[in-house]
Amino acid sequence: MSKEEVLHEQYRVEGLVMYQKHCENCHQANGKGFKKLYPALVGTNLLKRVSDQEMIHMIKFGIKADANHEFMPGNKELQAIEIAEIVTYVKDLNGVKEGIVEQKEVSRVSQ
């Protein structure tokens, strides 16, 4: 395994753990989603529709429905590294089997 592959694997595995803790409740195991209520993250051309930055933004800040309600809650307690791992994992689910999303990309995304 090359150094890059090891790094990808680390991020993927850590990302899976984080995903199970923070995302799976709604988006279900392996990103398969729940009906049309909680969108699937695989098989929906996610990476063509959403850039890394947009995905990071959604995870960090959520998606608002109105002042007090959210379609998707934000995760402001998550560290940059944790979001980087989640996005790497979700991209891996979508067939991106190499490379990682860097922490600094996450830190760059602001509200």
């Binding site: 409740n25 729940f34 009906k35 049309k36 209520l37 109105d66 379609f71 998707m72």
Partner: protein, 208 residues
């Protein structure tokens, strides 16, 4: 002699056990009252009172719509980020299993009724691809919903600004029989408990 006797005891016990197995019945939950009628003591079981809420089609749903039916009730809100998704995946299992049995109904109460107006509930139900004929999502006056939740269905349901999403509620599924008695309360976030609920629905279906 002793051996024969213990064998006999064992047989009796196993007979009792077998007959218990065959006549499985569910308890009546909640406070009971006793009343004397013509010198006989009658037990009055806890009952869900009359209610009237608006569903996802902006139609009234009341105890009349559920008359003679077994139903499963729960408390949720559409923007709930915590346990509701788990509850809804489990409730959907019950929905699909009894899709063609009109005697089984589902009733989900919103505990965020000011936001969860019928059109919000409608969008939610549509996204789950479920039908109001079987599964009603209802909204109403906040105090009415909290009251029926706490007093009648015996679960916690109220506002709490410290909770994520702003409300605290249990993940309970409440099984109500044809006569509005509560016959079981289950953790709707756990698959094995919902399996038990389904087994108990089968028992109620065979009850006279």
């Amino acid at each position: 002699m002793f051996n024969r006797f213990s064998l006999w005891v064992l047989m009796c016990l196993s007979l009792v056990w077998v007959s218990c197995e065959q006549e499985k019945s569910l308890p009546y939950l909640g406070p009971k009252e006793t009343k004397e009628v013509n010198g006989k003591i009658d037990t009055i079981y806890h009952q869900i009172p009359d209610f009237k809420f608006l569903n996802q089609d902006s139609a009234w749903v009341s105890q009349k719509d559920l008359e003679g039916k077994i139903y499963v009730a729960d408390f949720f809100f559409t923007s709930c980020p915590t346990i509701c998704p788990k509850m809804k995946t489990q409730m959907l299992r019950i929905y699909q299993r009894y899709l063609n049995n009109p005697n089984i109904q589902l009733l989900s109460h919103s505990i965020d009724p000011t936001y969860d107006q019928p059109h919000v509930l409608k969008a939610y139900a549509n996204r789950m691809e479920v039908d109001a004929k079987k599964w009603n999502f209802v909204t109403g006056k906040k105090e009415d919903i909290y009251k029926i939740g706490q007093k009648s269905y015996m679960v916690s349901a109220q506002e709490d600004p410290n909770e994520s999403g702003g409300f605290v509620h249990s993940g309970a599924f409440i099984l109500v029989d044809k006569h509005r008695h509560v016959r079981g309360i289950y953790d709707g976030t756990k698959e094995p408990e919902v399996n038990q609920l389904i087994e108990d629905i089968e028992i109620l279906l065979h009850e006279k």
